[in-house]
């Protein structure tokens, strides 16, 4: 016996013998089964070492008896998901875009499929909500450079804009200033004139006469004599309130001087057919889709 046991008078409990400023530490023993449980968890963890990847090696780790891999687990999960969605994807593939849009169930499925695809692939340029940015069209409004019907949107997604793959969507705005087609005063005048087409007030002293003349010669071919644009050339309507690069005078002049011609990548081959259909429906139902 090393010494007497020290018993706390008030509680009748043994103390550990330690004391700090008159406060003594009671020894209220834990139940022994608690200790066993603790040992059991240790034994259990050994099971984990053996069954699962655990010990780091130089360039890998032990594999574990179960040969479990997180990558394979994900692949299994994804396969299960694909199998579950299979019938609906099948229907997407078989139906035309118009049929999908008319079938509420199917279009809902397409929207749900299209949203993550849009966020992954389209959002960097068009914004997460499709609101666009300067030079990247807003997909929610009712102005479409190349058309806003289902087939137009699908074609744009498949072949892109001004890509080698695209047969139809190649039209660009020439660099009138840089290439010496028009002189600086002419460009300024036609910029002022163009803005009046959209009803924007221009500074007094603007040479609208000259502008009108230049417009008729240089611009009307693509944008139309009335300025309403031509879809087949991707020439925007100049009379409305939507300006892809801004309607201020400097932006318009910049466009005339350097030309315009944004690119959109072709997605055919990168996205499979059902995904392109789903994406088309998604974009069409953002709010701007043309029926």
């Amino acid at each position: 016996m090393a010494h007497e046991r020290d018993i706390d008078a008030l509680t009748g409990t043994a103390t550990t013998g330690r004391e700090w400023d008159g406060i003594r530490e009671l020894n209220t023993p834990l139940p022994r089964w608690w200790l066993w449980l603790f040992y059991l968890t240790i034994i259990w963890s050994i099971g984990y070492w053996i069954a699962y990847p655990s010990w780091p090696l130089v360039s890998s780790s032990t594999v574990g008896l179960l040969n479990w891999q997180s990558r394979e687990a994900i692949i299994t999960d994804m396969d299960a998901l694909k199998a579950q969605r299979g019938p609906m994807v099948e229907r997407l593939l078989k139906s035309s875009l118009a049929e999908i849009a008319a079938d509420e169930n199917l279009s809902q499925f397409a929207r749900a499929q299209g949203r993550p695809v849009f966020l992954e692939n389209c959002a960097p340029c068009h914004g997460t909500g499709g609101g666009g940015a300067r030079g990247y069209p807003n997909l929610l409004d009712d102005e479409w450079l190349w058309g806003g019907r289902l087939e137009d949107i699908a074609l744009t997604i498949r072949d892109g804009i001004r890509t080698p793959q695209s047969k139809e969507r190649q039209g660009t705005m020439p660099a009138f200033g840089r290439d010496g087609i028009l002189k600086r005063p002419e460009i300024e005048a036609v910029a002022d004139y163009t803005r009046t087409l959209a009803g924007i007030a221009v500074e007094s002293g603007a040479n609208l006469e000259l502008g009108k003349k230049v417009y008729a010669e240089a611009c009307a071919n693509c944008h139309g004599a009335d300025g309403r644009g031509k879809r087949e050339l991707g020439a925007p309507n100049l009379t409305d309130a939507i300006w892809l690069y801004g309607s201020d005078r400097a932006s318009v002049i910049e466009g005339l001087w350097n030309g315009r011609g944004g690119m959109m990548p072709a997605w055919a081959g990168r996205l499979d057919e059902s995904t392109i259909k789903a994406l088309t429906i998604y974009v069409h139902t953002l709010g701007g889709g043309v029926r």
Partner: protein, 513 residues
């Protein structure tokens, strides 16, 4: 109250008079312990304690009867409630209480709760917590002693044990004796019975999550889903382990409530109390009788330890309030039986307070104060929460609409210069028939709205059809042709049931640059 006494510390004393005096709650310190030098940290004091097995003795009396009644009622509800039927019409389950996970519904008789209404659960939890506090303020651990599932099932398992292996004395003797066939048989039978009760407990549990009669049939024919068997297995294991083997240790080591309870209680709460003012000095019948003859001070306690033997947690209530005591009142019944036998007044142990003992010692009358600030407060919170919940339930509608404004972009300018905002609306139909809702938007002049992808609801009347007991999400755009708009205009989305005219509204805003 000695908070450090987690383990019921009392060994039944075999001999020797207990420390006499007015304060039996205090254990007399080891005599002659010099205050210094303090001993070294003691390697010999074990840090882990082996379990002291408890053999609760059978007892009869008021509180035992109360406990049997509570046991019958609570277990009866638990085991049979899933079979109670409630007619909700053809398209809904007819089980009175059902947690329908696949369809995201909770049914409770006439109430049907949707997932977005779990705030009712918050109300219920507030009421439950306050009821627990109120019970505690009035009479200590009533919950622990009479209602807690741990207590109820332990009680049942102890009863089975006594029935099969005999009451305390018989059981102890048998365990000390040799391994006879009979002993093995009885032990086996006990565990079989325990497992059956445990299995039934698990079985009843899963019935709350599916149509009970169907599930019983499926379970019997091994066609029920695996998860049903799994849960029955889990609940069987926990019931068997907790009620059969862990018992009072759940209350002492695992349950947080005793700790919370100890912090919440006050000196007016009626607790199971040994009235030491009456009981001390304790002594054997003969010794006390002799002392009484001589006119010496004698207490009523004859130190027969009956109160300790019946205690399901092994507490000696004569040591005063103790964390191990679940306030079941069985020691009251035991002592009352003894008092009746020796012809002394009942309730040497009773629901009482230390305060009253002191008052009696000072010659004042006892005082029971149930109505006091804390009980009033708890009752008030219960009442207010209850009223709020009742109001919420009573004013519950069968249709509602919620609106989410597009965040990106907040608004869109159209070619003609007008502004458009996009919204996602969700219409809820809590009736069991398909309904058509007309949507109106108020607060915007010169505006139009349009659903996207809802066939047949272009211009003219905008109608959305919502299936029975379902919700429907629809995307829509609102276009304003007003010449100038403030950055934010409050608008109201209103749905009207075309057939019945019932309406619901949601508020949102129309945003502009």
């Amino acid at each position: 109250m000695s908070l450090a006494t987690a383990e019921p510390r009392h060994e039944p004393r075999d001999a020797g008079p207990a420390p006499a005096g007015a304060e039996p709650a205090v254990v007399v310190p080891v005599a002659g312990r010099s205050p210094s030098p303090l001993p070294e940290p003691d390697e010999e004091t074990p840090l882990y304690a082996a379990r002291r097995k408890i053999y609760p003795q059978a007892v009869h009396g008021t509180y035992r009867r109360t406990k049997w009644a509570m046991l019958a009622v609570t277990l009866g509800i638990y085991y049979l409630l899933p079979f109670v039927r409630w007619d909700r019409g053809p398209n809904a389950p007819s089980q009175a209480v059902l947690i329908d996970f696949p369809n995201h519904r909770f049914y409770f008789f006439f109430i049907e709760i949707w997932p977005q209404e779990v705030y009712y659960l918050t109300g219920l939890l507030i009421i439950a917590a306050m009821a627990l506090f109120l019970m505690n303020a009035v009479a200590g651990r009533v919950w622990c002693g009479y209602l807690c599932p741990q207590t109820v099932w332990t009680d049942l398992f102890c009863a089975i044990e006594r029935w099969v292996e005999g009451d305390r004395r018989e059981h102890m003797l048998r365990e000390r004796g040799p391994w006879t066939t009979e002993r093995v048989a009885r032990l086996g039978l006990k565990h079989v019975l325990w497992l059956m009760v445990a299995w039934w407990t698990g079985g009843a549990w899963v019935l709350y999550f599916a149509d009970a009669p169907t599930l019983v049939k499926d379970l019997a024919t091994f066609q029920a889903p695996f998860v049903a068997y799994l849960w029955i297995g889990i609940l069987t294991a926990t019931t068997y382990a907790l009620a059969g083997h862990m018992r009072e240790q759940v209350c002492t080591y695992m349950c947080p409530w005793p700790r919370i309870q100890a912090a919440l209680t006050d000196e007016h709460a009626l607790n199971v109390t040994y009235r030491y003012d009456r009981g001390e000095p304790r002594g054997s019948i003969k010794k006390n009788a002799a002392l009484r003859e001589q006119g010496a001070p004698v207490g009523d306690c004859i130190d027969c330890l009956q109160c300790v033997y019946v205690c399901p947690t092994g507490v000696d209530i004569r040591d005063g309030a103790n964390l191990g005591c679940i306030q079941c009142g069985l020691c009251i019944d035991a002592c009352d039986t003894v008092m009746t036998k020796i012809g002394r007044p009942l309730r040497l142990i009773a629901y009482d307070t230390d305060l009253n003992i002191k008052r009696r010692q000072e010659g004042r009358s006892a005082q029971v104060r149930i109505v006091r600030a804390r009980t009033l407060l708890y009752a008030a919170v219960i009442a207010v929460t209850g009223v709020v919940m009742l109001y919420a339930l009573a004013s519950r509608t069968t249709e509602s609409i919620s609106v989410i404004h597009d965040r990106n972009p907040v608004f869109v300018r159209l070619a003609d210069g007008s502004l458009r905002n996009g919204y996602t609306i969700r219409i809820v139909n809590k009736q069991r028939v398909t309904r058509e809702f007309a949507l109106d938007i108020r607060g915007l002049a010169n505006a139009s709205h349009e659903f996207i992808g809802v066939p047949g609801s272009t211009d003219g009347r905008r109608i959305v059809e919502v299936g029975p007991d379902q919700t429907r999400e629809v995307r829509m755009v609102v276009t304003s042709r007003a010449a100038s708009m403030p950055p934010s205009t409050p608008i109201v989305f209103q749905i009207t049931d075309v057939a019945s005219g019932l309406q619901a509204q949601a508020n949102d805003y129309f945003r502009a640059p």
